[in-house]
């Protein structure tokens, strides 16, 4: 990945590791923990959406699956947190296999709506079942240790990032996924098995999402179908990835940081205008798609199509802002 400097990454890692030793304010730690969680959700979303080209509007459903699994196992079966968390990731992964079996045979757009319908179905299931507490949701025993959750969230997200970075940017796996995104039939002609690869990418995207959902449940201590299984998780992950830059790993991180900062400020000052938030999210996605389809990272920084490369490859890369005439 061009423009991605390993020294900078290590510096950021070290800084984030040192944060809880310097800052003891619970509120700040809480905001940072949630921000890190969103970074994890955004990069996981990008695996299937950006790299493979399949939009998963059921991202929130896998997040909720992890959260509910942990909540049910801990409260109803008295499992320890660590085991329940592993189970949460496992359930999300298995859920991805089951959901992917018929839907990943569909072409991109159909996969998108099928996963959307799936998330709605799971939400309704959680609303009507008894074990999930129905519309009242579930309450978990509180474990009040902000440092613990900070480091746990940070560890999981960092591990996810490094794993994905290795698999998608260093190993052939990422190239295979990109081949499917660019031309599925062409990829098949090269001897790749698209259905299998798509399934692997779907599981790779859902597993960390489920684990993050599990941590979220134990951390927030209250989950209900509206907040955990609603569309908002998928919508926010989508806006982060599209805004930051699809098909890269740094893009979603930038998107997550910017959008999450905006969200925090918005909810702090304008919490009575919840609906306005929906409109702003929609407008942000639409404007990003129209004016910078490569996202912030792709348009302004070192990645493909960035300003620096543009000078060298002038003529190859077309300025996205110039209106393009169709040859019809």
């Amino acid at each position: 990945m061009k423009g991605f400097n390993i020294r900078w990454a290590l510096l950021v890692l070290a800084l984030l590791l040192a944060v809880p030793t310097v800052i003891h304010d619970t509120f700040v730690l809480r905001v940072l923990t949630e921000g890190i969680m969103w970074i994890g959700l955004a990069i996981a979303f990008d695996v299937i959406a950006g790299y493979t080209g399949y939009l998963n509007f059921g991202h929130g459903a896998f997040f909720g699956l992890g959260a509910y699994t942990v909540a049910i196992l801990m409260m109803r079966a008295n499992w320890p947190f660590a085991l329940a968390l592993l189970a949460g990731g496992g359930v999300a992964g298995i859920g991805a296999v089951i959901a992917g079996l018929p839907t990943l045979r569909l072409k991109g757009p159909y996969f998108a709506i099928a996963t959307w319908a799936l998330s709605r179905a799971i939400q309704q299931l959680a609303l009507m079942m008894e074990i999930t507490g129905g519309p009242d949701g579930m309450r978990l025993n509180a474990f009040l240790n902000p440092q613990f959750f900070y480091y746990l969230m940070f560890g999981v997200v960092a591990a996810t990032f490094i794993t994905l970075w290795y698999l998608l940017e260093r190993a052939p796996f990422g190239l295979k996924l990109k081949a499917i995104r660019e031309d599925e039939q062409g990829a098949m002609a090269l001897g790749l098995n698209p259905t299998k690869l798509k399934m692997q990418s779907f599981v790779l995207s859902s597993l960390p999402t489920g684990i993050l959902g599990g941590i979220y449940a134990y951390w927030i201590t209250f989950i209900d179908p509206a907040s955990t299984l609603g569309d908002l998780v998928s919508d926010q992950a989508l806006v982060m990835v599209v805004f930051g830059g699809m098909g890269t790993l740094i893009g979603p991180v930038i998107g997550a940081v910017v959008i999450f900062a905006f969200k925090t400020v918005f909810w702090a000052y304008l919490s009575e205008y919840q609906v306005l938030y929906l409109i702003i999210l929609g407008a942000l996605i639409a404007l990003s798609v129209v004016f910078m389809p490569n996202g912030v990272w792709g348009t302004f920084m070192g990645a493909k199509g960035g300003k620096r490369q543009k000078k060298q490859e002038a003529g190859k890369i077309i300025d996205v802002r110039a209106p393009q005439e169709e040859g019809e």
Binding site: L106, A117, M128, V242, Y277, I279, G282
Partner: protein, 294 residues
Amino acid sequence: MELLPQALIDGILLGGIYITIAIAFSLTYGVMHVIDFAVGEWIMFGAFAGYYLNKWTNLDPFILLPVVFIVFALIGYLIQPVIHRVMSGNRGNPLLMGLVFTFALGLMFQGLALTVFGFYTNSIPSMFSEGSILIERLGISVTIPTIRLAGLCYALAITAVLHYLLKKTTFGLGVRALAQHKDAAGLMGVNGKRTGAYVYAIYVGISAMTGVLIGCILSVSAQMGSQYTIFAFFVVVLAGMGYLAGVPWAALLLGMVQSIFLIYFDPGHTLLAVFAILYTILLISPRGLFGRGV
């Protein structure tokens, strides 16, 4: 068991309406290669347009249908170039971008509707709302509400018009050519950009008109949109992608499922049943009920 014939009749009457949405929806897909995530929101906006127009003018919603069609067709005609722009040019992943864009539109529309119309549920009064026809034969009694019958007549009329437009006119020939092969159609002198805009306009207009009917028969609320997006998708996938002849059957099946859930189970679980059916059929026959889709 006495309720079963009633449920089936209700299903047919309701399913008829979905035919119109699904045909327009799959037509748009065929020509523009974009799944419009905002389809449910167009229905919702149409329903609200019908609701407010009816309130202000006191005219029957059935008389207002052409007005709604013209207004929304114009809106669709104006929006389509933006979608076209998102999907053309030298961009990576035009299909994905189109999808993300219409999804964003849907999100904005829903937010707007919630802001403007609030969270209330209304329904549109019509001259057909009151009456119903009672049929009693062989010990089975079935009531047919006039409004639903009128809805079915509307659906048949729209389907007939679309059929005529597609099969008998030059415009329809162009549309079918574009659906088959975009570039080749362009070489044969079909203006893809303009035809796309017309098709999108027709589709938005029909969705909005159908929204008015749904408002008469069921209800109007700002949150109704996403359910109908899923319904439209359900019908199109079940029929088989791009296989228009399968659409009516799939739409009728959806109507049946919905009315059976309304009568026998909790109507809140309809989406669950819809998804279960979709899942099973995709697992067994990914190319739709008839195996004729793409």
